[in-house]
Subunit: 346 residues, 2 copies
């Protein structure tokens, strides 16, 4: 007889409009056997250690027919990227004790029936904090790598602007830009974040967008000769202010539009004529379609991590119960760096 | 003594806001000697035959500091692309009787002091209508070629949508798309234009945007599986409707935004999140930066013209006096095809 344990879960209540609230997610306790059921071939049962909170998850909370990511199922647990430890396995590639990253439920234990759709992958680099595997060495790292190197095509000396610059992705884009010999400026929503960008992450300059009465003036102050690359994490009003400040033949990597996700109707962007007048290339990307670049990210980042030449700041919320508040905090910019939830230490 | 003749001119009155009116341009008659003045080296005096009316000229009528084209000078003649005949020349490359294209004044005779800034070029292909040299073999041809082949990167079987599809550029984009094995749909503003697109130009389908109460529904009807390439001549509301109908990895060539040029404030475009969600590449271009492609346009189009396998519809207004009305007509879609003004026959 295998052991039965309680399994706390964060349940997605129902589809929402506007800003998510903690009450849209419900803590529930169920029971789970710590063994892969006999009828499940190639399945893996994991104990969850870290959950990732990401802005794109907001899109999964609304009922949109043609969504770019699968929407959540009401009354089922929330889910997302995570770090976990294998408890039991009927899959030949995974055994008890293996550390993995995967799409896991927001719960203490997850039974992964399809290793393919859950993108389960064994962790090999164990000389870095485990949580980095869903940060700098995970999807945020890949997003920064893809958007900067693959989409933005940086040249030495380029001027680079990054919004949400202290986020999970932005902090890496800024450091990649510096590694590429670019001049980089970031925007963030608090003075502390602005200080961090300039001191810890080596941004050439940074500004607090909440304190600027005129975003266009702020951008002109930081980029008197214009912007070669805009790494867009926020969309909306900031994008509109950036467009007239782009240089001829410049690039916009459309990574995310966090300022828009909770609005009933997205803000209208008026300055699109600059796309033509400045020969701007504005290009969107979804990191899931650039998985083949992962070895390149590792080649770049692993040695830098080893030599302490790249920084990565995380904001770790303690305990599964804190996950709803942590997720919601992303949309008010409460997090400082990559937002995680530690479900268990081991 | 060289002959003095009267030189009718269309004078640009002063910078404007909103829609241009005929009264923003004034007919004036001056006197000109039909000889290059002795002090002008490398100058060419031309008799103007055809003027081109183009939407971008609206941008030259407003006082914008950082404009992408030089703005007009109040009290000076309007100017633009044209076909002309050399009357006198102190430039070794041009002689009396040569037919040329150049940036000319809106007047009967123009003294071209700088052949370089006026882009004067001798006409060699004389087996096509002269006006084609500022149409299918001129800037509109180059614009269609650049935006379609260079920016949109068509693949056989792609679905292509062209707005302002019967304009100077759109009619060619549609035909290029057919030549490339694409499925192409155009929008225009009258039933007659829609008929022409389907009958004369071989568009697979077309619709009258003024008769559609729901642009999104019209696009879904024409493109049930989505759009691979949007050749955008209009911007604004149509662009907003197109974005959700784009396919994954699709392209938008931002050629112009004629719907926006006369507005005090551009319309806000709300559906930009699709740029990310559909991995759209939206790219602007100014044809003046792609002059090197001109031989490629000629290689493609000259034989097709010879064999009657490509159509080009022009709307020719008679007489210099008709130029202001012809220009203004562009913004209400009065023109059917490329808008020209015939100043003189010979």
């Amino acid at each position: 007889m295998s052991k039965e344990v309680s399994n706390k879960q964060i349940i997605f209540k129902d589809y929402i409009h506007g800003f998510p609230k903690e009450s849209d997610m419900i803590l529930k306790t169920s029971i789970i056997k710590l063994k892969v059921p006999d009828e499940c071939n190639d399945a893996v049962l994991v104990k969850n250690l870290y959950l990732s909170c990401d802005p794109y998850m907001r899109s999964r909370m609304s009922k949109i027919d043609d969504n770019y990511v699968p929407i959540f199922t009401p009354s089922e647990p929330m889910s997302g990227d995570g770090v976990a430890k294998v408890v039991d396995s009927s899959h030949p590639d995974f055994k008890k004790g293996d550390l993995v990253t995967a799409i896991i439920g927001w719960e203490e234990y997850t039974l992964i029936k399809s290793t393919e759709t859950h993108f389960i992958r064994k962790i090999h680099h164990t000389n870095v904090p485990l949580s980095y595997h869903i940060g700098i060495l995970g999807v945020p790292g890949m997003t920064a790598y893809t958007g900067f190197y693959e989409i933005s095509k940086p040249q030495q000396g380029d001027t680079v602007f990054v919004s949400a610059a202290l986020g999970a992705v932005g902090q890496l884009v800024g450091q990649f830009a510096k590694l590429s010999g670019c001049y980089v400026v970031g925007s963030a929503g608090t003075r502390d974040k602005v200080d961090l960008l300039k001191t810890k992450f080596g941004f050439n300059d940074a500004f607090n967008y909440r304190e600027e009465t005129d975003l266009d003036a702020a951008l002109k102050r930081c980029f008197p000769d214009g912007i070669d690359i805009y790494f867009d994490n926020v969309g909306g009003e900031m994008l509109d202010a950036v467009l007239p400040n782009m240089k001829f033949n410049s690039r916009i990597a459309t990574c995310g539009m966090i300022s828009q996700y909770n609005l009933k109707q997205a803000e209208g962007v008026r300055n699109l004529l600059y796309i033509m007048a400045k020969q701007i290339r504005m290009q969107g990307f979804l990191v899931y379609h650039y998985r083949h670049l992962y070895p390149k990210l590792l080649d770049l980042v692993a040695p830098l991590l080893e030599e302490g030449e790249i920084a990565y700041v995380e904001d770790v919320a303690e305990g599964l119960e804190s996950a709803p508040a942590a997720l919601i905090g992303l949309f008010s910019g409460r997090n400082v760096g990559k937002q995680l939830v530690r479900v268990a230490s081991d």
